[in-house]
Symmetry: C2
Subunit: 369 residues, 2 copies
């Protein structure tokens, strides 16, 4: 392989694929990035066997070929290169590559390319496209509620359902849940039900940040492929049955308050400072159009008063402040509706606005004081 490219092009492509590099893997070659040429483009690939990312860019190809270089060295080197043409020449005999720039050159030792795992682009059972900005927004609003317990893989995933021309996306770690529904255009014929690892969607959102267009999605057996322009993200799917989440979402409420998102977020953050360390439980009391947020610990106590619009009976309920903060940070509207059915029933947070979204929080049972 012999190519000429620019520092910026190369650096951007490395930054994209590097997220899939696996540093602490028993298979050392997974710490590498595979460079390969095809016609007039260079393809970079990295994978940790759960996720694979490939990114291509046009370059001057002087000789076709392949080389696998340690991500750590090639990325740090390229980041520090001068803004000048970069010439990379692989030596198939040793698996190393020479990087030339200005009057200088670096030789980086590589891995045998034939040992790099395959990156099979699945032949699609179902292929469809979603707008990149929509996907990004949905991921941001839902994925935080996914769990991280490796023994319960289904809860580490995000349910993506498309049918009847509607997309529904849900995640839950069993303590909280986030749900979003969006009408899709020209998708009436699709019928899809997948559990995608939360990590995959986070990486997807990161990739989309620089590619503001349609994302093409291909679903195959146990795998999903996202294509955004010149970037491919492939991931395994999570096997299993997503919990029947609809039955845990209360249909009605006894009390509903409408309030300013930022006021509750700030009050919850201040209150959690003086909640017990480790489990930041804060108490909400609604009465006479007033929401009192309070917490107490050995360090002191907080009593915050917020004006709200109240519909329904007074109530007292406690939540984990961190979980409450997670929702309020991403909900994206100035005001929210907070619905309650009792001190031991889930609270439901909805944006005041047009989007179909809700987040559910299980309450914390308070000891009598």
């Amino acid at each position: 392989m012999k190519i000429v490219t620019s520092k910026e092009t190369l650096n951007n492509a490395i930054q994209v694929v590097q997220r899939a590099v696996s540093i602490r893997n028993p298979l050392p070659i997974l710490a590498g990035i595979k460079f390969e040429t095809l016609e007039d483009r260079v393809f970079l690939t990295a994978t940790d066997l759960d996720i694979g990312i490939r990114c291509s860019f046009p370059a001057e190809i002087l000789e076709q070929g392949t080389v696998v270089l340690p991500a750590k060295y090639i990325s740090e080197l390229v980041r520090r290169l001068p803004e000048a043409p970069v010439f990379i020449e692989a030596d198939p005999a040793t698996g190393s590559a020479k990087v030339q720039y200005g009057q200088s050159e670096t030789r980086i030792n590589g891995y045998p390319p034939e040992e790099f795992p395959e990156f099979p682009i699945p032949a699609g059972i179902n292929t469809f496209a979603l707008p990149g900005d929509l996907l990004k927004e949905v991921v941001r609003q839902v994925v935080f509620a996914a769990g991280n317990d490796e023994n319960r893989p289904v809860f580490m995933g995000v349910l993506l359902e498309i049918n009847g021309g509607e997309l529904q996306v849900v995640a839950t770690d069993t303590y909280r849940l986030a749900w979003r529904k969006v009408k899709l255009e020209n998708c009436e014929e699709l019928d899809i039900n997948l559990i995608i690892p939360g990590k995959t969607l986070n990486e997807l959102a990161r990739i989309i940040s620089s590619y503001d267009q349609k994302i093409e999605i291909t679903v195959a057996k146990n795998q999903i492929l996202f294509v955004a322009d010149n970037v491919w993200l492939i991931s395994r799917l999570i096997d299993g049955q997503f919990p029947k989440y609809k039955q845990v979402i209360p249909k009605n409420y006894d009390l509903r308050v409408r309030l300013k998102t930022k006021e509750l977020l700030d009050a919850a953050e201040r209150a959690s400072l003086l909640a017990r360390e480790g489990s930041p439980v804060i108490k909400l009391q609604v009465n006479q159009d007033m929401l009192v947020v309070s917490a107490a610990s050995e360090a002191g106590r907080v009593h915050e008063e917020l004006s709200v619009f109240q519909e329904g009976e007074p109530l007292q309920v406690a939540f984990n402040a961190r979980y409450l903060g997670d929702v309020l940070k991403i909900i994206g509207t100035d005001e929210i509706m907070f619905e309650f059915t009792g001190p031991l029933s889930p609270g439901i947070i909805k944006p005041v606005g047009d989007i179909e979204y809700l987040s559910l929080l299980l309450p914390v049972r308070l000891r009598e004081e």
Copy 2:
């Protein structure tokens, strides 16, 4: 104590003194910030017994008094307060304080104020003033060369000498040295020779960043006080004899090269990537107006060529790339002079410009390859 102030005023003062708060000290009260009133001002103080910082601000004083509050809680709370008047009322009976803002209030438990260590402002043997921006520049150019070995306290310090109307500032960890000389105006009568902890000067530089004026310095037995506007920084001095550094600085050179600071910095950083981990040794070879920077390890090798102006004989010498990078990052001129007297003698880096500054680097002995 009862005071009314603004979130911003209070937050700024807490940020300044918080640097001296000691979190992991056997004396728990050192994790606190002392609030006390005097006439129409509030004084905040924190100390780890090595350094003390005090900051004052004007406020509406409704009742004089004192309270010591845990820095962690009061700083995090104030940072999150709304932009509104803040009312703080201490309860002398419990040592706690009530913080009120808007419709809300927080009570933070404190420490007994009488247990907070004294913060004696030394009666000056010598008092003089230096421009804040000069002090800041000098600290930045010198303090990085100080050591961090607690068993050799003198090398953790920075020598500050004033005599004959000149200020000289020096630090060395025995592997490298940085020296700066500045002519002072109206200081002919001063004769000062102090070793100030590097940490103290770093904190001083941070404080100066927001106070661009004369810094008043008072030297007492074993202590030094810096006053910048409404901030007092007091520190112990280091006892001992600073090494006779002048005799290690070569008077002449066999080879001198003039080159672009950034080119050498970038080349050194790239080369250190492929130097052996843990000890990033890079080799410099000068010949025919060319400086070759090189390094090699199991990961690969680097060969960088830089055009230089060469005066003197060809030479090969090796340095620790990190130490070289430290100097090049702070030297502040586009070009430097690099002087050598042999492969086992110190290299001297000087700015090309008007300032009297040098940094000395001990070479690394290379095994023959």
